[in-house]
Structure formats: C-alpha cells, structure tokens
Symmetry: C2
Subunit: 394 residues, 2 copies
C-alpha cells in the first residue's frame, strides 16, 4: 500500500483539479468549523456515490441520490452540527436551497451539487437553514487548492482527529477525507467520505470502482452495529492528470485509501478502548466469512469482554452459532492476539496466555470449510461508549 498521508494532510486537495474550504457557520455550539465545500475544477466533472442502506434517509441523501444519477458532480457541500433528517418538507427545501446557493455562486447547475449533513437527527429548523446557506457562501468565497485540511476539520462531529488519506501513483493521485465516530456500521456508517482523483475515469468506471472499494472497506467497518440515516461516500473525478489509469491499479489504490480511512474511523470510534479486527478464514464463501465476522463484531457480550481484557472465546463461538454460515461448531479454531484459545470447538491454550492490553486486537476464526476470508473492523463496548451515547443529545 502506498498511502502516504495521515490525518491533517491535504486530503481532497491532493489531486489536481480540486478546491476546498471549511468555515464555521455557528451550527456547532463549540464555534468550530462546520461547513465544508469541495469543488471539481475539471476538466472532467465525473462523480459517483454510495449511500446509506437505511430506509429512513436524511434529506441530503434524498437530494444527492437524485443529483448523482447523471454521473456529473461539480461540487459537494457538507455540514456537521445537524443531520437534517426527519425534518419534513422544510428540511428537504433546505437541502435544495443549499445546492442552489452553491450552484449560483459557482456558476453551475444545482442538479450537479451534492449535499451531505451530519449531526443530531431532527435538527433542521429556520436557524439551521440560515446558518447553512450563509456558511456555504462563505466557504465558497474561501475555496483554495490548499483547502483540504480545513474541509476535513469542518465535517468532524465527535471525531477526535480530522481524517484524510492520499495515494500517489504514476501520474495520478487519489485524495480523501472522512468523518465518523459513532453509529459505525455498514451500509454504511455515520460516515461522510469525499474522495477525489485526477485520474481520467468515465462515470461508469467511477461507479464500479467506488462500489467495489466500499464493499471491502467501509462496508466492513461495524463499530456498534448501528446504521446511520445520513451516510454517503462520494468520488469526484477531475481527470486533471490526463492519465487514464489501469483499472486494476486504480481499484487497488482506491481500496487502499478507503481501507486506510476505515481503519482510522475504527481507531477513533466513540468511547472505544480496543480496535478489534475480526478475521474469518477458510469460510465456504466470502458472504459466510462476512456474516460470521459481523455476528461476532455485533455481540455485546464479546465486546464487553474485550473491554475487560477477557479472552472469552465461548462468546465468540456463541456468536458464530447464530449465523447461517457453513461450519461445524466442533471444528472451529479461535485465536486471540496470536494465542489459540480454542481448537476444534474446545479449550486449547490457557486464557492467561492472551495479552489483550494492546489497543489493537486481533481475533482469528478458522472455520475450516473453504477458502474464503474477510475482516470485519470493530471496537469494544466500553463505559465511555455508553456515556458518550447516553449524553449525545445534551
């Protein structure tokens, strides 16, 4: 992997052809930046996006789903500090007005402006609208090809660090920013992600690459099993490099960037004290591997045990037993941080040999029935998770 950039890097303004900005519009009570804009200066204006699988979709999702249909994206406006979800027709109009405001200032069609929102569900009144429109105008006035870091900061909610990533290849580049700290589950998570590239791609290629990359990265991040109403991952293509990349090379680079960001989201999940990689090997199918990994990743008893540094492999097997995957409970092996605590569905090494004190935790489940595998990225269940999420609205 040639991901070269951590948090605070240029992110979306890494590739040529993009400008970005982030400003404070007063949506966050802290006064921090809360409106980001990313603009594609071309020459291509290609876009692709994937959206939350939740049937209860926020207004910006409803808007962006329509706007992306033609595969053309000129700009994207993102706000933190309010989800504009379950805010009725007024909320949808706010999203529409936001796209129109940006389009007018940029001299493009409003149908080519995507909108994303994140924050508390039910927030989206007149005050919210006025602040979003004002912030959009001010952000556009500050657009710059150095604006990536400011944009990445403006989309943060409970994130403790801004998250960016970038990848440089022969003549073309990919840049990205992400936010997401709670409600991290596939399909997608409470994540907003914007990815930019100066490679030359058609809308169809962009869409196929994006779906392939999110399927094995963001869709395998399952911090707390909760699916958001507002998630959106957008790929914007400027083509400014003039280079049409090899398809495999581009897809591989995009997967690298998406995985890098998914792991950063995992590491910064609300209240978590362990990043847990649940790796399932020798499954009959990849779907089986994902189902097993996800069942373990969503098991509160397992997650609480890891928080307590308890290598409770019985809870891993109990979770696997709830799936429809092909396996024999009395053939499964389980390793925790390299120690095989369970072999053939029975006790193996003593639990005392497992050291769960490192934040990075690896659980390996060997189903012994096939050749497919998958990793699900999750977190432990902690006092801080409960605390942060019981106090979120206050």
């Amino acid at each position: 992997m040639s991901v070269v950039e951590g948090g605070g890097g240029p992110g979306v303004t890494t590739p040529r052809g993009f400008e970005a900005a982030g400003v404070a519009a007063g949506l966050k009570s802290t006064g921090r930046a809360d409106i980001a804009v990313v603009v594609n200066r071309g020459p291509l204006k290609v876009g692709a996006a994937v959206f939350t699988g939740n049937r209860a979709k926020a207004n910006p999702i409803l808007w962006s789903q329509q706007a992306i249909e033609d595969g053309v994206v000129e700009a994207i406006v993102l706000n933190s500090g309010g989800a504009n979800c379950f805010t009725g027709a007024f909320g949808f109009q706010t999203t529409h007005h936001t796209a129109e405001k940006a389009a007018e200032l940029l001299g493009v069609s409003s149908g080519d402006v995507l909108v994303c929102s994140t924050g508390l569900i039910g927030t989206g009144d007149e005050v919210f609208r006025a602040k979003v429109l004002d912030g959009t105008e001010r952000a556009i006035a500050q657009l710059s090809d150095q604006g990536g870091p400011a944009a990445a900061e403006a989309i943060m909610t409970t994130d403790s660090v801004a998250k960016t990533s970038a990848c440089h290849r022969d003549g073309w580049q990919i840049g990205a920013m992400a936010k997401g700290a709670g409600m991290l589950a596939p399909g997608l998570a409470t994540m907003l992600v914007v990815i930019t590239t100066d490679a030359v791609l058609t809308a169809q290629q962009a869409d196929a690459h994006l779906r392939a990359a999110t399927r094995v990265s963001f869709d395998r991040l399952d911090s707390d099993g909760c699916m958001s109403t507002n998630d959106q991952v957008t790929l914007m293509v400027s083509g400014a490099s003039g280079v049409a990349p090899d398809a495999d090379a581009f897809r591989s680079a995009l997967i690298d960037v998406c995985t890098d960001l998914a792991v950063k989201l995992q590491a910064d999940a609300e209240g978590a004290s362990h990043s847990i990689d649940v790796q399932v090997i020798r499954a009959d199918t990849e779907d089986d591997a994902v189902e097993v990994g996800r069942a373990v990743a969503r098991n509160n008893l397992f997650k609480a045990a890891i928080f307590g540094n308890d290598p409770n492999w019985g809870r891993v097997l109990a979770a696997i037993g709830t799936t429809s995957a092909r396996f024999d409970p009395y053939a499964v092996d389980v390793e925790m941080n390299g120690v095989r605590v369970c072999s053939d569905g029975g006790p193996d090494r003593p639990r005392e040999e497992v050291d769960l004190s490192p934040a990075q935790t690896h659980v390996l489940i060997d189903l012994k029935v096939g050749e497919a595998s998958a990793i699900i990225y999750t977190n432990d269940l902690t006092h801080d998770y409960v605390h942060e999420n019981s106090a979120y609205a206050s």
Copy 2:
C-alpha cells in the same frame, strides 16, 4: 391474568404430582445452591421442550433434544455454575452420566431424564462432573412437594432474585421457575425455565401449547441481542388433577405464566436500569411488528440514550429504517412514556416533556399500515451492563 405468585413462591411444586429439591454441590464459588432436580410423580409423564436456536449447542441441549423426542419426561436435572458447553466428548458423557445417575436413583429410564446447565462456557472438567453427580444424588434424596423454592434458587446465576410463577384455574394449575439475567435474546436467551402442570395433556398438546406460549413471551425478550448456547424451556405434565382443560383456557394460562416470567427476567437483566417495552402497532404483519421491535431493542445507541434518560426518537427511526418491514418513514409516530415525540416522521412534542426517570419505560411505534402488533421486552445499555460482562469470567 390470574398469576398469583411472585418470586420465592412454590413455583414448580404448585401443581400436584411434582417434587423438587435444590442443593449446593460446590459448583458456585459462593457456596450457594447449584443443583436442582424436578421429578414428575405422574400419573402422566408427559413432557415438551423448546431449545436455543443457536447452532452452537451445549452438551445438555444435545442430550435433552434426543431425550424429549418420545414426549416422555420423568425428571429434569439442572445445574448452575458451569455451562458444559464446548467441553467436547467428555462434557457430553458428563451429561449422559448425570441422566443415568438420576434415572438409577429414581428407578426410571435415563432416556426420560432431561439435563440443563448454565454458567461459563468451556466449564466442564472432571471436578465439574464429580460435583454434578454428587449433587444430583443429594438433591434426589431431598425431593419434596415443598421443594420448588429451593430448586428455583439453585438455578440462579447472576440473577438477583429467584423467579417463580404460578396460575390456578378450575381444578388444574401451572407452576414454573426461571433463571436468566444476561445473554437474554430470543431463540431463546440464557434462560432455563421449567414449567409444571397437573392438567391432563397429551405430548402433542403439551408441545403445541409450549411452542405457542414461548413464541409470544420468552421469544420476545431481547435484553442484549445475545443468544445463548444453553437455553431450554421445559413443560412437564403430571395430569394429577385428572382434568383435561379447555385448550384455549390452558394456552391462555400458559402464556400468562410465561409472560410473567419473561417480564421478571427483563426486570432483573444484568446491569439494566430501565425495563423497556417496545410496542409496535398497526404493522402489516406480526412478523413485521416483531422485526421492528427487535431492531429498536437491539440498537445500542437507542439503549444508551434511554440509560441517559434521553428520549432520542431519531435513533428509534434510524433503527426502524434498517428493517424490511412495510412502513413509510414519513408516516411513523413514536411515543415515549405517553408523549408523542414524533409524528409522521417529524418532531412533535418537545423532548423535555418526556419523563424517563421511571425504571419502566414504554416506547410505542405506530407504523400505520396494518392491524398487527407485538411487544418486545428489552433493557437499556448501561455502565453496569458493560462492567458485569467485562468481568464475568474473573
């Protein structure tokens, strides 16, 4: 409902024809009672049972599933202090030996003796076996028609109170005991339940009534979304009343007793500070109502919000949106403790009007598409839940 008995009542020895006992065999480090036996003195020896849906089943489940096939049950032996799950062939032999020991002492066939175990997965070594066999012998020596309370105490694990229930009808009675405090989820939960009746029923009738009753009671208890490897609900029929009850009357009474116990399990769930009844009304089908209720009941963000007395209805709608139930997100109403905080998928009454300080919490979800309904019984996600389950094995 004519349930007349709370915790500490005679429970399984309420109906005529049953004897029970509970003794301490040293399986629990506390020295408390940990082996229970319930014996059916007839004249009928009818039995029915439902088992965990987990594909990773403990040894006593594997045994009891075979033993129940002929619909004849003479006795049941239950132990706490060790799940005898993932303990290999040795563990299965322990269960087998337990049934044989009880059968020999009672002068019945070992194939008519059921066995249940509960406690830590992976526990079931030579010491465990010796204690279980010794305890079984001593419990059988102490059998009495007053032994219900002692048996109910002996099956407790992290339960804070013994749980019994009983129901008296015209000439016949139902009695029951239950344990279960963590890993409470359907299909079933970490629950062991023994129900006795002196009504006259065939094995077929007993099975049909038991399945119908558990479907709307224990199967709708979903404290933490985690499914156990050891759950078993057993109905034993002595026929000692000589009365063949009206089928509807018996089923109704059995549902009452099962619901009473399910609510007691909910109220005593590990670490919970709120018992939350998620009631879904006007669903298209009962399956839809259950799916929606369960999705909300399993949403950690919603559960943490209730712990924080936060009527965060956005999380309710976000959870509903993950289901495949028939509904329109912009038609749904949500009430919390009688206050309609959301109507037609938008904000209604101010959240400040909702008082979530009582332990008993009612969430009403009106889908407005049909006439079906269901209640899922769940709990909040608390610091104490995380604490108890991170320290369980230590």
